[in-house]
């Protein structure tokens, strides 16, 4: 509320805004924290801890967690030219592609007859891994279980295969019912037999982080006891050409936070977490990490570009710290959004600098997986949890030269043997969506 007030009063006076922001906001945040705690306590008698007990991930780094961890720790990027995507640009732009055909994926999932879209296939793979690891029994009706998924383009990869036939009047396929973003969610939920609550989020590149946040909030409010959250997106002609039309793609491996960066490498993937309320976890040894804070806001600056100082992202990071009752000094590492576009890494850098005035260890893992759009938030959540549980920080591959304006230097080689208590992860997307989350060692 406070932000809105000063913004209305001092519209257009940027210097004054900066001044008020830098000097007065920390004070307001302090009061806000106090206020929030009181109001939370008055509504719920005891703040409830929420834990991650399972995770699954499939990306250019592999389909198994061990493989993903090995590649992350050993600086082995998954970026290549494309083998499976039906696009003229498959040898022009590098991307983070999952090196499996739909048939391979279906075989591994044991699907014998009707094969769903690639988005559903990779989503099911990751969600099933997460459920298996957590050991939750979904059929146990004494618990309310939900599924919250995210996707930006849903079944577009399938639609673009049939659309020309549709235009020519020769289409025989029912692609329309697989095209929307809810299709993969329902396919995965039906296969996992989750029915108490299901929904799908699309806030562009911040989608799956918002799915994790919604799931956490629903558990905190007692609406659900446990929830599978995450996102899935497949590479397709539509997004490759969309980002190409925006002139945001790099033909070579992307260089997040580097002065020489040229743009994004797109990627595909899916990742899901099982989140449970502390009340329902039977086996405490299953706990992988705690979700201790989160924040979402809008940058309200431009449809595709972020504001010069990454204001929306600053708000999200500060809100995450506030809900976690932590200070910037408590955060050991930040998994940045770091898409490697000139605009994102400049503005996110400023937002990081404003939030972590005393500095922070950070890197972007987009140089391993490419930008997996809706899945990026949950894939990076898995990476963050791997970091917490294996005491390492992933490298910002290829980094050489700091961005002149803010001069931030990311972690450029894997750091092992680091003790980590709290990790923050950022996501930001078109339409101004900005979100931030904090994972903590339980």
């Amino acid at each position: 509320m406070y932000f809105l007030f000063y913004h209305k009063r001092h519209k257009g006076n940027k210097d004054l805004k900066q001044f008020i922001f830098v000097f007065f906001v920390p004070f307001v945040v302090e009061i806000g924290t106090l206020f929030f705690t009181i109001s939370l306590n008055s509504k719920n008698s005891k703040p409830m801890n929420i834990y991650i007990t399972g995770m699954g991930c499939i990306s250019a780094l592999g389909s198994e967690t061990d493989q993903t961890l090995y590649n992350l720790q050993n600086e082995k990027s998954g970026l290549t030219y494309m083998d499976f995507v039906e696009t003229q640009y498959n040898q022009k732009f590098m991307a983070g592609e999952i090196k499996m055909s739909n048939q391979d994926l279906a075989n591994r999932l044991g699907l014998t007859h009707k094969i769903p879209t690639r988005t559903s296939l990779i989503g099911l793979w990751a969600a099933q891994q997460a459920v298996n690891q957590s050991g939750i029994e979904i059929v146990d009706k004494s618990y309310k279980t939900g599924f919250i998924s995210a996707s930006t383009v849903g079944g577009m990869v399938n639609t673009e295969r049939h659309f020309q036939n549709f235009l020519n009047g020769t289409n025989q396929e029912n692609f329309v019912s697989l095209n929307d973003m809810g299709d993969s969610t329902e396919y995965i939920a039906n296969t996992l037999k989750i029915s108490n609550f299901i929904t799908t989020i699309n806030t562009a590149c911040a989608s799956s982080l918002n799915a994790i946040i919604l799931g956490s909030r629903m558990i905190k409010q007692g609406i659900l006891d446990r929830v599978v959250v995450g996102g899935t997106d497949s590479l397709c002609k539509f997004t490759i050409n969309g980002f190409n039309a925006l002139m945001l793609l790099d033909t070579e491996a992307c260089l997040p936070f580097d002065a020489r960066r040229k743009g994004i490498n797109l990627g595909e993937g899916a990742a899901y977490l099982v989140i449970e309320s502390e009340k329902v976890i039977k086996d405490k040894s299953k706990i992988l990490a705690q979700i201790s804070g989160y924040g979402s806001s809008n940058d309200a600056y431009h449809q595709t570009a972020s504001s010069p100082n990454g204001y929306g992202l600053q708000l999200a990071m500060k809100a995450a710290l506030k809900t976690a009752s932590l200070t910037p000094k408590d955060i050991n590492y930040l998994n940045a959004h770091g898409t490697a576009t000139p605009n994102n890494d400049l503005t996110e850098g400023w937002a990081i600098k404003e939030t972590f005035t005393e500095g922070i260890s950070f890197s972007s893992t987009k140089c391993f997986t490419g930008h997996t759009l809706a899945a990026s938030g949950s894939i990076e959540a898995v990476f963050s949890i791997l970091s917490i549980n294996n005491d390492f920080l992933p490298a910002n591959l290829g980094f050489q030269e700091a961005i002149q304006e803010h001069g931030l230097i990311p972690i450029s080689t894997t750091q092992k043997g680091v003790s980590l208590k709290h990790i923050m992860s950022n996501s930001a997307g078109m339409g101004g969506s900005c979100s931030s989350i904090i994972f903590s060692k339980p």
């Binding site: 930006t152 029912n174 692609f175």
Partner: protein, 331 residues
């Protein structure tokens, strides 16, 4: 969990149709200003900008604490506008505008941009749960802390000819060659409402309850949820003055709701609201608008409606998969 509805605006088709229910587009410029920006907006974005602005204009507020939107399909027209030239010739130059506008969160994003609203901003894209998820999220926000007092919630979907044709080919629609009680008639619409945590002089209705039900096995599953809602809100079934039912016109898909309607609400005043607006993912937005009109005695549609309406129940389904139930009451 409840929310006060202080303002609601709905764009929907009016009157019966057996082909499609399309909205008659207003003069957007009157509300949005005739700028170059307006000309670049897709129909769905225009609908969202227009309905949200009309809704905000009816409140005393200039700013919202959060914006939450549901859209089952997002920008279908933009999506095709970008896809078709791509399929014809991928290597030619393509304008990014339809790509940007095809993103479902471009609506909530553009509203935030216009209002300079830095608050929570979310977009749900889950079929017949899109608008419901947005409302649930907004009600949770109100519950969570005192920072979110006034929230703008929207539900919208546009109807595009080629989508209608795809749905026809897939066998979903009513056609002359089919028995009259099979298939659905598609519609489109946009509903935006402003909800708050506290009652104020503008309050038109209270959203007292909202439940979503995924793939119920039979009508008893649905009846059980209705009974839960009644018990939780200290109501008996005869205190429900009007029931808005979301049957789509296909006898197989409507089987469960028809049975609920006949068994539980035999003597109640009721109406199949999709006969007015058609079938679309966020059609419950239209029903919610009708419910608020009924409570305020300003609904012109229902001659047989009782004089005083205190409680309205909306029972909706999409494709016999996504069921939702709303309880709306007089303040």
């Amino acid at each position: 969990m409840k929310a006060y509805i202080n303002s609601i605006h709905c764009m929907a088709a009016q009157g019966a149709s057996n082909t499609v229910f399309k909205i008659s587009e207003p003069n957007y410029g009157e509300i949005l200003g005739n700028s170059g920006e307006l000309r670049r907006m897709s129909k769905l974005v225009k609908m969202g900008m227009y309905a949200s602005q009309k809704c905000i204009n009816e409140t005393t507020l200039e700013q919202m604490d959060a914006i939450v939107v549901g859209t089952g399909l997002g920008g279908v027209e933009s999506s095709e506008k970008f896809l078709i030239p791509l399929l014809e010739n991928e290597s030619s130059t393509h304008s990014p505008t339809p790509f940007i506008q095809s993103l479902p969160n471009s609506i909530a994003g553009q509203i935030a941009l216009k209002l300079k609203c830095y608050g929570y901003n979310m977009t749900y894209v889950h079929r017949g749960f899109s608008f419901e998820s947005a409302l649930l999220d907004a009600m949770m926000l109100i519950q969570e802390n005192d920072e979110n007092k006034n929230i703008l919630v929207g539900g919208l979907d546009e109807l595009v000819d080629s989508y209608v044709e795809q749905m026809r080919q897939a066998g979903y629609l009513k056609e002359a060659s089919k028995p009259a009680d099979l298939g659905v008639v598609l519609g489109e619409g946009a509903t935006f409402l402003q909800i708050s945590s506290e009652e104020n002089p503008q309050t038109q209705a209270i959203l007292k309850d909202l439940r979503m039900l995924y793939r119920p096995e039979n009508d008893i599953d649905i009846t059980n949820v209705i009974n839960e809602i009644l018990i939780d809100n200290n109501l008996i079934i005869n205190e429900i003055d009007f029931v808005l039912i979301g049957n789509c016109g296909d006898k197989y898909l409507d089987e469960k709701l028809k049975s609920v309607s006949e068994k539980q609400f035999m003597n109640h005043s009721k109406m199949n609201f999709k006969e007015q607006c058609g079938e679309y993912y966020t059609s419950s937005g239209y029903a919610l608008w009708q419910a608020v009109q009924l409570i305020n005695g300003s609904s012109g549609l229902f001659d047989e409606a009782p004089k005083t309406i205190n409680n309205v129940l909306i029972i909706n389904h999409y494709n016999d998969i996504n069921y939702s139930i709303f309880l709306i009451s007089k303040p």
